[in-house]
């Protein structure tokens, strides 16, 4: 659809091969139960009975917190809402989704500074920015249609800064490319703020009228002069000054970031530093400004809004906050809701390993490949009493399951999805699900009935009506309204409200309406290269595959172009180790080892290795060290050693 405001009719490679994936013969078609002789096909009725019985069993024997629910950011809002409702009505907050692994730090970081952990401006706003500062995002490969807007801005003369340890297709679009060492983002951001403050380029009025906490920041910044920062980050100090001036002087400037910022043990602080930079320059609340965290899946924003999170109820009411709990209790007509926060996705796995979680229900997730430290994950899954996996393919996680429920894919069901720019859009089914596969919502309602939970089976439209009551920002979301245009952008509190594409125009969503400027300190990553493990391994995406790859690795044409796991290594490093392009390499970290094909390229700096995470193997290497607040694992930095195979 050329008139769509986000992609304007364009598709990325994954989008172009969707049909190959949806029509793949490997699609799960029937419920399967694991027996001693392998998988056995069973009827839906029996499958749901079994799932309910096992869940009830754990519940009675070991209490509600022995259950855990891992939701999917690829499922609709309605499905995520009902999913977490089931979990919470069963008495546990052990419900989470994969946002934990990509943008949990955005929720905490932007939450405490701006009050709302979401993208402040729509993607199309980038076209009217005069300066775009991209840090830790390779949108040209991961969100190709975003580049359209960035190029549009460039055409009007915008200055584009890209900070990334690698030279990526995103850096190609840059006027200034900053090649920093992985894990030194805070130093760079503080360094830029140091320049802005010492040269008086900060927005005095904005800081005075809309924020609190500037003086603490000013003090904290003193140590981050360009020379010091240059030593930490490896970026020439002149470039730091240039970037700072360009960002601060621009009439409108936007910050774009992704997992290069969030997936660190200092993820929350990284995000906070980004927010500080935008706040002191007043680049927030106007068209062309703002902070744009780009999400990686179609409904990460929605899954979080729906409360598929261990510490938040629907609409971001904090678990334990009596007022938020009270509202839900009235709506759900129940008087018990667990008051202590549940286990996050990463903690669930850990708890399963220790035997604290007995039954795990996973929808559309592949923790074996997507969580850090795969070998621990596998051990933990084996340790479970019962594992239910609901997916469209037999994933590596599903292999560990006791019960598999075949689900319909996005094009085969109806529901609403919330995109990265908070745009909620309604999806109508275009295809029929294969075999006996059912829409996730239908499965969840079936299960709820078997569990004896008191809510009737309803259509997605009716669930949305309940959501609009539970989540204030969705108050005006109606199926018919969304279908008319290209969805609605939350917050949209009432049926007459047009939606709010730009946040924070008048005041911030903090209790007093002021944004908080919070100083943060640079800390070294949890693991740094040393004599034993001399290389720094960082992970990321490639343009041709999608997340854990359970879908994109089933597309013939994508696989033809990117068939196997590879590792990028700088030619200078390769020379000293006598590695040639195409050699099989053996990689080892403190946690595990894997094999990959060497790809010699200047895209990575010396001493740095890069691996895509779409293939099994990459996350056997990564570390499970977590951010203190967001509990996001540090995927981006591990110490690693290699040898030729």
């Amino acid at each position: 659809m050329p008139e769509h405001p986000v992609n304007e009719g364009s598709l990325c490679p994954k989008g172009n091969t969707t049909l190959e994936v949806l029509n793949h013969p490997d699609r799960l078609k029937f419920p399967l139960r694991k027996t001693e002789n392998g998988w056995e096909r069973i009827e839906w009725e029996a499958a749901l009975d079994l799932a309910a019985a096992k869940m009830k069993g754990s519940l009675e024997k070991s209490g509600p917190d022995s259950l855990a629910f891992l939701g999917s950011a690829k499922c609709s809002n309605e499905e995520n809402y009902i999913f977490q409702k089931i979990a919470r009505l069963l008495g546990t907050n052990n419900v989470d989704n994969c946002a934990r692994l990509c943008h949990a730090s955005t929720l905490t970081g932007l939450g405490k500074t701006l009050g709302t952990g979401a993208m402040t401006n729509p993607i199309s706003d980038l076209a009217s920015s005069e300066c775009i500062f991209v840090i830790g995002s390779n949108f040209a490969e991961n969100h190709p249609p975003v580049s359209r807007q960035v190029l549009r801005a460039k055409e009007k003369g915008a200055f584009v800064i890209v900070a990334d340890p690698r030279i990526t297709p995103t850096s190609w679009l840059a006027d200034l490319a900053l090649r920093l060492k992985p894990g030194t983002d805070i130093a760079l951001l503080n360094g830029m703020m140091h320049v802005i403050v010492s040269e008086g380029l900060w927005d005095r009025r904005f800081v005075r009228e809309r924020t609190r906490g500037f003086s603490e920041l000013e003090q904290n910044l003193q140590r981050y002069d360009p020379e010091t920062v240059s030593r930490i980050t490896g970026i020439p100090s002149a470039d730091i000054i240039k970037a700072a001036r360009a960002y601060a002087r621009a009439g409108t400037a936007a910050i774009v970031y992704s997992m290069g910022i969030t997936q660190h043990s200092s993820g929350t602080d990284n995000v906070t530093a980004c927010a500080d930079l935008a706040l002191i320059c007043g680049h927030i609340g106007e068209k062309g400004t703002g902070i744009l965290p780009l999400r990686g899946q179609n409904n990460v924003q929605g899954a979080c809004d729906m409360g598929a999170l261990a510490e938040f109820y629907p609409g971001y009411g904090k678990v334990g906050d009596p007022e938020a709990a009270g509202r839900l209790q009235t709506l759900w007509r129940t008087d018990e809701l667990s008051e202590h926060p549940g286990k996050t996705a990463t903690e669930m796995v850990e708890a399963a390993g220790k035997g604290k979680i007995k039954t795990l229900y996973v929808i559309g997730e592949d923790p074996v490949n997507s969580h850090p430290d795969s070998s621990q994950v596998k051990k933990a899954l084996e340790n479970l009493d019962f594992l239910i996996v609901q997916d469209i393919f037999m994933t590596d996680t599903a292999e560990y399951a006791d019960l598999i429920l075949p689900a319909a894919a996005f094009a085969e069901k109806e529901g609403s999805f919330t995109s990265t720019e908070r745009r909620v859009q309604w999806v109508e089914p275009a295809l029929l699900p294969p075999g006996e596969a059912r829409a996730d919502l239908e499965i969840l309602f079936g299960l709820a009935e078997k569990l004896g939970l008191d809510f009737p089976c309803r259509g997605a439209g009716e669930v949305l009506e309940e959501i609009s009551v539970a989540v204030p920002a969705y108050g005006g979301m109606e199926k018919e309204r969304m279908k008319k245009g290209f969805g609605l952008v939350w917050p949209c509190p009432g049926p007459a409200h047009p939606g709010t594409p730009i946040l924070h125009t008048e005041s911030f969503k903090t209790p007093d309406g002021f944004a908080r400027i919070i100083p943060v300190e640079h800390r070294s990553p949890a693991e740094t290269p040393g004599p034993e493990y001399p290389f720094l391994l960082t992970t990321g995406r490639t343009v041709l595959h999608y997340n854990a790859g359970s879908m994109s690795r089933r597309s013939k044409s994508l696989l033809k172009k990117e068939p196997e796991l590879y590792v990028e290594i700088n030619p200078a490093d390769a020379r000293t180790m006598e590695i040639r392009d195409g050699n099989k390499l053996f990689l080892e970290t403190r946690r595990g080892k894997t094999e990959a094909t060497a790809r010699l390229t200047e895209r990575v700096g010396q001493g740095v290795l890069f691996m895509p995470f779409h293939f099994p193997g990459t996350n056997a290497l990564t570390a499970g060290s977590l951010d203190r607040e967001a509990k996001i694992p540090e995927f981006k930095v591990s110490a690693c050693r290699i040898r030729r195979y």
Partner: protein
Amino acid sequence: MPEAVYADLSRCIACHACELACERENESAKIFVQVVRGLAAVPVSCRQCETPLCAAVCPGEALNYRDSRLEYDAEKCTGCRLCVLACPFGTAELRAGVVERCDLCQGKEIPACVATCPSGALFCAEAENLGEDIRTRRAERIKKALGNPEPAGRRVNR
């Protein structure tokens, strides 16, 4: 009017979406993207030449340049592969006895590769109009360089 798919190389981000869109619509890709020295990506497809060398060597008159369009008659094609050898760009291919080259997705409003290009690098245009955009952009840049430099910071005096 002769049209062809052109690429604004400064915009290409090597995402391969055009190849996959072409494969989806035409079974096999007829546009090829590759990264050059890790710093730039260039899509290459049939240039729709106005003096097509492929047609010049065709012995069976299967390839004909008529009305500003290269027409291909598979009936007359003998599969001799001389056209493949004549093409300076290496964009004609012989697959199962049939010459395959970009035909701009005949019957469609715009070619699939152009419609799908996420960065807007590919465009379908007539040769006459190719330079227009670039000239305007140049002129604007020259004008900007001539004008007074913009104030050094918009909010220094607030």
